[in-house]
């Protein structure tokens, strides 16, 4: 596969409101036709960054290049970029059809073309039966689809989505995640989504950027971010992680209780530094083989049955918090475990990630 073209270049962009720095020198490239996620806790600057892409905020510093042209100071109505608002922001006095055709009317397209394009997008988003309804007569999921149709019908170079699934219940959210993916593929438009839900970005994004305090921590594929987090914050924020605090050694981390966790030390850490070793719950095995690099025994404190798998809370001397271990239901059936049991946990050195603490 050839390297995809860069569509949007965010170049050392900063934004402050008074003394508060919301976005602090972020640089990012977003590629043509990709599904890109901006992820971070609330207040990390992701929404401000999105609003700068839409044109509702102007950066204090830096450039925003769309197809190589700086649009940082272009007003929102003059950019080939559309935003799907978190609140959906549907026009309450207009029907679904009027909401969707509004943006095309602004382009002064011929009525016949507007009609054709609106019909097509209403069909794609399965809104045809609701075309004459007012927003107040729609369910949350339907409103969300109208907001999406209204933005997509403009065929923007870039579609921005601000927490698009935040207002939906969990089940609908799962369905809409896949639906958004499908739509993005179908319309061939670059999507940039803002979310605080790490699971959502793992499921939907081709690449994702993790932000904290206005700074970019990591930008990569979901797989890379999950498997090779850039720092402790990212490791903790994305998915679930077990941490063992201690001191860095040449071949791992020396835990407070004297146990050694084997793992590869990153180049940025030198032996003796305060460090934390970490391992994902699904990488831990019960009843490990004797040659497994890292082994520890602990007491099962609690079990949480989750259908597909079983989550164990295991108290060990390695860390103040109990270890979280995920075992497939299948494995749990073969060798049942119950609360109070003493069991041995094991994981490979290759599954250990070590960070500065």
């Amino acid at each position: 596969m050839s390297e995809p073209r860069t569509l949007l270049q965010i170049d050392h962009v900063s934004k402050n409101f008074g003394r508060v720095t919301a976005v602090d020198g972020i640089s990012l490239d977003i590629r043509e036709n990709e599904f890109f996620a901006l992820l971070g806790p609330s207040g990390c600057g992701k929404t401000t960054l999105l609003r700068m892409l839409a044109g509702f905020e102007t950066p204090n510093d830096g450039r925003i290049l769309l197809d190589g042209r700086d649009i940082a100071r272009t007003p929102p109505n003059k950019r080939p970029v559309n935003l799907m608002f978190q609140s959906y922001a549907l026009f309450p006095h207009m029907s679904v059809r009027a909401n969707v055709s509004y943006g095309l009317e602004m382009e002064r397209l011929p009525a016949a073309e507007i009609r054709e394009r609106v019909d097509a997008i209403l069909a794609t988003t399965e809104l045809v039966p609701f075309a004459d309804r007012k927003p107040e007569q729609l369910s949350g999921g339907q409103k969300q689809r109208v907001a999406l149709a209204r933005a997509l019908v403009k065929r923007p170079r870039l579609l921005l989505l601000d927490e698009p699934l935040g207002a939906l219940d969990k089940k609908l959210r799962g369905a809409m995640q896949l639906e958004l993916k499908r739509l993005q593929h179908e319309v061939g438009i670059t999507f940039v989504i803002v979310t605080h839900d790490q699971e959502e970005s793992l499921v939907m994004a081709d690449r994702m950027a993790v932000l904290k305090d206005g700074k970019l921590l990591q930008c990569d594929t979901p797989h890379a971010v999950y498997e090779y987090p850039a720092d402790r914050f990212v490791a903790d924020f994305i998915g679930v992680m077990n941490f063992v605090p201690g001191k860095a050694t040449a071949d791992g981390v020396l835990a407070a209780n004297g146990a050694r966790i084997a793992g590869k030390l990153p180049a940025t850490l030198s032996p003796g530094a305060t460090a934390v070793a970490s391992v994902r719950p699904e990488r831990i095995r019960l009843f490990p083989k004797a040659q497994t690099a890292n082994r520890i025994s602990g007491t099962v404190e609690a079990l949480a049955y989750q259908g597909l798998d079983l989550q164990l809370h295991v108290r060990t001397p390695l860390s103040p918090k109990p270890f979280l271990v995920r075992v497939t239901a299948d494995a749990a059936d073969r060798r049942p475990v119950s609360a109070g049991d003493t069991i041995e946990l094991g994981w490979d050195a290759a599954d250990v990630r070590i960070f500065k603490d």
Partner: protein
């Protein structure tokens, strides 16, 4: 099952207490509405005497139409009310939008805008009179219109602002995002959504203007040309209350009540949204 609270408290009251409460309520309403009812009734009284009912008649209303002074005063009132309402509605709506969009400029600005609603009419009347004289303006209908704009603007602004409190500003951004200019956004999105409040504010302003006496009296200047209806009634009443005045007052009241009812209808429509 728990008994309803209202039911309990009603039961606790003795029948005598309840009867007494009803009596007080009736007296209050009687005090409020008997004078108005009498006025309306007398306007239809054939004989025209306040002391005796001599049969139903519309003759006083008919005789109003022959009174050129009253007709010209009514026309003046209509001109003042319509023009001052139009100006106040336009400016008051824009002001309300401006304040709500830039709410961070604080309460000081708000107080300044609502002062005309709170300052006693007589003070406002004197202030406007001195101001117009200072500017060497010839008094007339135009000065009454300007004066009415001053307080009507505050009322329109407050009605529209109440609506804007629940206004979703993201639809304004959405409109810009979809390619609309600021003017198009106002015309196609903002105005249609707040229109019920704008109409309610306009009807309120119209009502206030129609029966406003003190400020009009001070800013009308000399001469009969700029006499409004309330001023005309005041002039007539110095020679005693005639049945014609009753008829005129009834009409003014009907217009006011109609406008106010409509205004509230529109406002309720907003709350329902």
């Amino acid at each position: 099952m728990l008994p309803k609270r209202e039911a309990t408290s009603m039961a606790e009251r003795s029948p005598a207490t309840r009867r007494a409460l009803w009596l007080v309520l009736s007296l209050v309403f009687a005090f409020l509405y008997i004078p108005i009812a009498v006025l309306v009734a007398l306007s239809f009284n054939e004989g025209g005497l306040p002391t005796a009912w001599s049969g139903f008649s519309l003759k006083w209303y008919v005789s109003l139409t022959g009174n050129s002074e009253i007709l010209s005063a009514a026309l003046n009132t209509l001109i003042v009310a319509l023009i001052s309402t139009a100006i106040a509605t336009l400016l008051g709506t824009l002001l309300a939008i401006g304040i709500e969009m830039r709410r961070q400029y604080g309460k000081g600005l708000e107080a300044l805008i609502f002062a005309p609603m709170i300052i006693p009419d007589i003070v406002l009347a004197i202030a406007l009179l001195s101001f117009f004289s200072m500017l060497n303006l010839t008094m007339g209908l135009h000065t009454i219109i300007l004066a009415h704009v001053v307080f009507n603007l505050a009322f329109v602004c407050s009605v529209v602002r109440a609506r804007l409190k629940s206004f979703d500003w993201s639809i304004v951004e959405a409109s810009a995002d979809l390619g609309a200019s600021a003017l198009t956004t106002f015309r196609r999105v903002t105005l249609p959504v707040i229109l019920p409040a704008v109409i309610a504010g306009a009807l309120l302003a119209f009502t206030l203007s129609v029966d406003e006496f003190i400020i009009a009296f001070f800013t009308a200047g000399a001469g009969r040309a700029s006499t409004t209806l309330p001023m005309q009634i005041y002039a007539m009443i110095r020679f005693g209350i005639t049945p014609e005045i009753n008829a005129l007052a009834t009409i003014v009241m009907a217009v006011s009540i109609t406008a106010l009812t409509l205004s509230q209808r529109f406002n309720r429509g907003i709350i329902g949204q």
